[in-house]
Amino acid sequence: MKPFITSLVFILLLCSYPLADQESEQDFHDAINQAESLGDTLGLSRAWYKLGRYYDQNELLDESNLAMQKALFWAQLSEKNNAIAAVSNYMAANYSMLGKVDSAYKYYHVALSAVQKEGDSLKMAVILMNMSDDFATNAEFVQAVDYALSAIRIKEQAGDSSNLAYFYQKVGEIYKQAGEFDNWERYVLKAYQLRECVDCADVKALAAIYNDLGGLAEKKQQYHLALQYYDTLTAIGKKKDYPNAVGTALINIAQIYKLQGEVDKALQTAQEAITYRIDSPYKNLVIKSLLAELYLLKGSADEALVFAEQNLKISEIAYYPEERMHTQKLLYKIAKTQKDFEKALLWHEAYESLSDSLRNKEVRAQILEMELAYETEKKEQQIALLTVENQLKNQRIKIGVVLLAVMLVLILLIIYILINRKKQAELKENNLKQQVLRAQMNPHFIFNVLGSIQNFVMNNEKNAAVSYLSQFASLTRATLNHSDGDTISLADEIEMLKNHIELEKMRKGNSFDYVLALDENLETEIIQIPPMLVQPFVENAIKHGFAGITYPGFLRINIEDKGEVIEFLIEDNGLGLGQKTSKSKTHVSRAMDIFNKRRKLIQQKYKKEFKFEMINLKDHDPNLSGVKIVIHIPVLNDN
């Protein structure tokens, strides 16, 4: 059997009217009648309250509650919140004594809302504490601690230290009930530290503290120390005329003696304990069980039977099945000792059946406990989670801000780069346009043409000179017209090519001929292409392809519509690529360079690929010579 430590249970009251010992029930009724005749509702409430308290002190709890109900009625009628709070708090305490949790809870709330209306925080603390006590009794420890700590917070905030020790002790007791002994000890010690402070601990609180200290020592099996604490408790109880404390202390001492096998000492102490008036019905049960047990141990079954049967007569035993079972077991043992086997069997069966149902209850309690543990854990996890979440949230905000800043910088950077790139692309394009113009109308070409004209003039070839001049003017005009446009119609491009070739032909004294072939259905005036991409290759073919040949040169240009592109095929019958001088290579590479730059730009701008191919004809057929160039120029009509 586990050692149990009985605790001191008492309820905090919100007000105390002087209660004269000599007053009898009739006096209270007289007071009620008098108030009634005066129509004094508050007086009525007060009178009923006093009667209720009188009943309570005479352990007539039901009658007490009936009186209190009347008191509450009159208090509510008089709209005195203080009175309502005091009465309902008292009622709740009564109900809680009776184990009627729901009613207790209900009246505590009535009390609570009444004091809230008054704005009396200290009374609120008291009620919260009482509620906490109730929760603890019903093993709802999380709420119990919650309410108790709220109560303490209210008191601390209000700077009210009155009976603060009691509050601490109470929290400790909740922990004790919850089985968290470390916390129990922590709060009891907190309370204990306040024992010297005036006001902080009334006699009841002090008693409870010593009782707890004793209990803690017992828990640690420091029985000697426990006995010392209980002795102190006894002394305090006797000194302050608090029989409850003395009784409780003596019960606890007796139990320790019993544990230590000192039956005589235990019995002696228990016999002393029972002489003190003990308010708690539970402790009345405990002391009687203890006495019965001790007598039984001493072999005096008859004495034992007296106490055991007394226990059964206490109505509250219904609320304490554990004690009832214990008593039944004692009765069974007593009957067995008395050889009254029929009775013994009866008690045994009663014990067994109760034990069964209790075991169920125990199982349920265990489940509840487990649930409680789970709830507590869950709550803790939630708190932990919340903290983590908060941290995460903060972190996320920080990260978000940083990311946003980084993104902003990046966007600005990208915009800057894009603008820059666009500017550069434009610059490049303009540069290239100039380069194209220069390639087309390169100074070398211009002065050569002018030289040729001079030659015609000097030879008096008037018509040739004028005709040559017109060609040159026409090409110059066309070049200027088209060099800054993005596109040119195929017709114009062909016109310029022809013009160019004609000029070259005149300059070269008709040493070569050419053919420009295209299908008559080719939509030359519709098709738009990037301007002057082909001309440098034609120029190269004439200038370098035909350089050093002794036979008539021939240039073939085929233009074919390939849908997305126009294919230009430029073929000469010159000496081919192997015969190039270093000078001509430079020119070829220069022309190629401009071509490639333009190609890249056009591909970027219009997203159109185009092909360029240069074939040395000799590589394919040794009988042939010359260079064939194939260029696919993209059609830009859709752009």
């Binding site: 004028v466 017109s470 003017a473 005009r477 119609s489 017709a491 939509e523 005036e525 519709i526 009509n637």
Partner: protein, 250 residues
């Protein structure tokens, strides 16, 4: 009859060439003076009252057009000469006026002066053409007229009334809603850039279409445009996309 002519050019060489060509090919023309600036030209023309003016557009102190504006109204025939003035050339094209490009090509010169002489001898008026020219030059962007010269006559048509132009080698035929078509001995290309500002679209190698008179785009059979007068015009597949874009913007 003796035709009096003046040559206005700020380049002495060009003045000389023009005079030389005039006297070489047109001995009946009497060159009564030369000028190199707007100011001198105006004085010269006022004093000499020539029948023919060879007028360069770019002068040292202004534009050849300024001279015409200062002398209005006038009755002489002008042959314009320009080196490289896209705007002026466009204006000449609108008004179907003869112009010469530098350096002057002898054949072009003979043709242009020959036509001018015929004009003068027939006492024909170029005033309607000059009117169109002035509208274009004065930046009246809403100028609505185009001069079409055929072998027999000169038509001043409202651009908006043209339905479409059809190319036939170097000839262009203009079609209208009801009026008879007009055949001009100029290539369609000449008009393409000119009329692009007036909602015309080169739908096909052979067709320039006024989109304002289009009633329907039929995408079957490679696509064709149906005009308000039910006339059908083929669309080059290459132009379909730009055509749709243009029509959406209308």
């Amino acid at each position: 009859m003796i035709i009096k002519a003046v040559v206005i050019d700020d380049e002495p060489g060009m003045q000389a060439i023009n005079c030389r060509l005039l006297s070489d090919y047109f001995p009946e023309i009497n060159i009564v003076g030369k000028a190199e600036s707007v100011e001198n030209a105006v004085t010269l023309i006022k004093t000499q009252t020539p029948d023919l003016v060879l007028l360069d557009i770019e002068l040292e102190d202004g534009s050849g057009f300024e001279i015409l504006q200062k002398l209005q109204p006038y009755s002489f025939k002008v042959v314009f000469i320009t080196g490289f003035d896209a705007f002026a050339i466009q204006a000449f094209k609108y008004s179907a006026l003869d112009y010469l490009l530098k350096p002057v090509n002898q054949n072009d010169f003979k043709q242009a002066i020959g036509r001018a002489v015929a004009f003068i001898e027939n006492n024909e008026s170029t005033n309607p053409q000059l009117e169109v020219l002035m509208q274009v030059i004065n930046q009246q962007m809403h100028h609505k007229k185009l001069v079409l010269k055929t072998s027999e006559s000169m038509h001043i048509v409202e651009i908006d009334k043209i339905y479409f132009c059809k190319s036939d080698n170097s000839y262009t035929t203009f079609y209208f809603e009801n009026e008879p078509k007009i055949l001009v001995s100029k290539s369609l290309k000449e008009y393409e850039n000119l009329l692009a500002h007036h909602g015309f679209f080169r739908a096909h190698q052979s067709y320039l279409v006024n989109l304002n008179h289009v009633s329907k785009v039929d995408k079957s059979d490679g696509g064709f445009l149906v005009m308000n007068n039910k006339h059908e015009i083929p669309i080059s597949s290459r132009q379909m996309k730009s055509l749709i874009n243009m029509l959406e913007q209308l």
